[in-house]
Subunit: 401 residues, 2 copies
Amino acid sequence: MFQFIENGSVTSPNGFKAAGIYCGIKKRKKDLALIFSDYSCTAAGTFTMNKVKAAPLVISQNVIKLDKSVKAILINSGNANACTGESGYDDALKMQRWCAEKLNLLSTEVLISSTGVIGQKLPVEKIQTGLDEIIPSLSKDGGYDAAEAIMTTDTRIKSYAVKVRLKSGNVTIGGICKGSGMIMPNMATMLGFISTDAKIEKDLLQTLLKETVNVSFNKISVDGETSTNDMVILLANGSSGISIMENSEDYPEFLSALKALTIEMAKSIVSDGEGATKLVTVKVSGTKTKSDANLIGKSIANSSLVKTAIHGADANWGRILSAAGQSGADFDPAKVSISFSNLPILLPNFTLTLDEELASKILSQKEFEIHIDLGEGPEEATWWTCDLSEEYIKINADYRT
Amino acid sequence: MFQFIENGSVTSPNGFKAAGIYCGIKKRKKDLALIFSDYSCTAAGTFTMNKVKAAPLVISQNVIKLDKSVKAILINSGNANACTGESGYDDALKMQRWCAEKLNLLSTEVLISSTGVIGQKLPVEKIQTGLDEIIPSLSKDGGYDAAEAIMTTDTRIKSYAVKVRLKSGNVTIGGICKGSGMIMPNMATMLGFISTDAKIEKDLLQTLLKETVNVSFNKISVDGETSTNDMVILLANGSSGISIMENSEDYPEFLSALKALTIEMAKSIVSDGEGATKLVTVKVSGTKTKSDANLIGKSIANSSLVKTAIHGADANWGRILSAAGQSGADFDPAKVSISFSNLPILLPNFTLTLDEELASKILSQKEFEIHIDLGEGPEEATWWTCDLSEEYIKINADYRT
């Protein structure tokens, strides 16, 4: 049993505080966030598959690899500190060291993360000054400020938490995230920071994170199609006294709650996609293999022709079928059926049941489902996407300037 | 030695005629094209990799597979006759048979092709009536009419020809094509029809076509990312009396001319991309393998973040590097250099030489080159792309309605 907490955040679990301030990297808006745990945490992370990795990401990835315990995450927006060479790496190390010193921690107890423009020198001295202001601001109420401070082109704060009732007691999981270029799941930075007061060993924590990311953030973005800075971090500080173990009764329930939380976070990113006006669930079923279901889901979710048709509320099912056809998945087009939020559009043998008016009504809603069944087997996958609008171009045409 | 012919077309080679008329499939514009050779032709073709194949494409593909000689190509626009089931297949067979009967040919001497909306029944009786008008209209001057009649969202007629001077005499190669959704090389229909009066055996013709498509049309679109109707056809009627053979002196020269023609055709498609205002050559060099060069070229040419930055004349080289990084190719980001039309932007070790003002001037031009050198090896590849503008969304949001 779990339920979402109203106004929940990364600070909802016991022992976590956060803050978000303006330190001068952006022109005006909040640009520095700090998440802090009163207790040492085990830490898990998933990181970009991009060959080009930002310096802060490399440093945080190493901390996780070395099984270090973690107490803080420092994040700046407005500058990605990516493609900045050795001096950029030095700047990232400074950011980590200064934060650790001011919190009386070891450097390896601090994870760091940056998001924003690529290839420009990070004004790291502004972070140094900012640390003196942000550390005293840490509070249980600071989750939303932190969520605001990690935003780039995001238009909405993304902050959630769930309360999980387990046989052995209650735990809480909270998270904040950012990401907005996901309208075309292609290189837009996606950051997620998740906390829990459950006690979970490092290896199991990594397994849990991998499994949940696979059905949430990886269903809006794609392995190998990620930015230089993408990361999702999960910290467990154990302060609830409740342990989650692999073969325990509570494990499936905790996993369900974590999945629900991360899916909600992932959907919040899609629905805040640059220029997006609609949140679309792409359900693929009836494939021979899981891999085929994912190939088709990815292809439809990524198709700019499908996404523009959705924007125009145009029931262009041919583009959906064609996107499936070019995905590399194996199927017979004559067995395909397509529906929009339970309204049948296409039945097998190309039998068209499309009612243009009803279909267009569904496609005009803010949230709906496109369901494609391949009629080939038992496997399925769910993806999320949004429409592609003129606004997306405007936002991205002069992002830096 | 070869040179482009002013106002050249698919009718420029000896023995070819063409016509283009309005037969009532579209609302007003020309929608039926016919290409005819006075002499029997060997025929080669390359066809979509999409699992979902339009009926006319399947029929034409079979003609080519069966090594039939060909004398005519009948093409309609306004309706793709794709995802139309068995009755769609029957319609395509009718289209082929009627055309053959009225030209006194065997059905297998006629190739057919359709482009337009997917999933709607082809009004094939309009083609039947249209044939009575188009056959008498066939002429040496009809290439431009045919090129116009195969257009969908294209804004410009695409018609070219080259005169090739060979040791053994002169031959001509001509071609028309359509395709305009290529701004995102993803499922937009691309058709190309090429003719020559050289005499070339079927197998060699297929080899020639494959090799040239690979450096032209496949560098704007992508294997496996194609529409239900994509095809490129090459007919050789031999009426010049000049034979091209694999080991002959003339072979390399003929191949060069064919490549030049198809690259020009491919570039005309990109520069007429939906909403496109700029034609961008993406040159990739210094990779370990050819495959890496192509992965990187494809990734940059397809990146909507790169394409929107180009639209805004924003020298966002970080997006170019990040697109390369997510391509799957193997390289060290620190060895990369980037230039825009010979203006160095980034040198190895992330040494930035970017002059924003000069760079922005280049990116404001109608044609320029993005060159990325990976510093890893001797291989290279050239791709073409265009900018991504608000206009693209407008065109695609309500294409059917």
